[in-house]
Amino acid sequence: MSQQAIFVVAAAIFGIGVYGALSQQSFVMIMMGLELMLNGAMLAAAMVWAMVAGGTPKGQLLVVVLMTVMAVEAALGFALVTGIYRVRKADITEKLKRLKG
């Protein structure tokens, strides 16, 4: 359980999140990708707090802020998806592009 090991795990989760956010067509699935990226970031932040920064409270605060970001992102994201579905009757990104054109 070294710094490096945790960082690699965090990077792997982040990378999967990047893949998901870029490849998925459904808005909600894209949000899952974002959440995974934040998940990886939180793990890295927690590791930095515990192993690099020697337990400064600011490190914990960073994780808390990331969690808040996640909640806000989720709440507004779902609200937007609902609004989009209400009007467009679909929740996938392709449709939006098409409507623009």
Partner: protein
């Protein structure tokens, strides 16, 4: 840390025990079925479609409110630990924070968004 290990052990043991018991039940009486026996029960008639559908969650505004309001807990737990030491300032700050959040509930309630849409 040691507590974590014990908790994890208990979690895994309980999870495993229940899965094993179900497995034992299946060994004792292997499930078998015919197509009519698999029809979901709704009083003796058959449905046309699968039950799984794009389920219209009638309380989705409340679910969104929950997402944001739930975050208050993250702040409240550390606050509770240092409350007595910090004294009045802690009380005032949390009162402010909660009051701000309560406006969210008030707004949602006033919009009638707790009711089934």
């Amino acid at each position: 840390m040691e507590g974590g290990a014990a908790a994890l052990t208990i979690l895994v043991v309980a999870l495993g025990a229940f899965l094993i018991l179900k497995g034992v039940g299946d060994v004792l009486n292997p499930p078998r079925s015919t197509a009519p026996s698999r029809v979901p029960f709704s009083g003796g008639l058959s449905p046309d479609t699968h039950a799984w559908n794009r389920y219209h969650v009638r309380y989705y505004p409340m679910a969104l409110l929950f997402l944001a309001f739930d975050m208050e807990m993250v702040f409240m737990y550390p606050w509770a630990v240092v409350f007595v030491e910090e004294g009045l300032i802690a009380l005032i700050e949390m009162l402010m924070f909660i009051t701000i959040l309560l406006f969210g509930i008030l707004y949602t309630w006033r919009e009638g968004a707790f009711r089934w849409s």
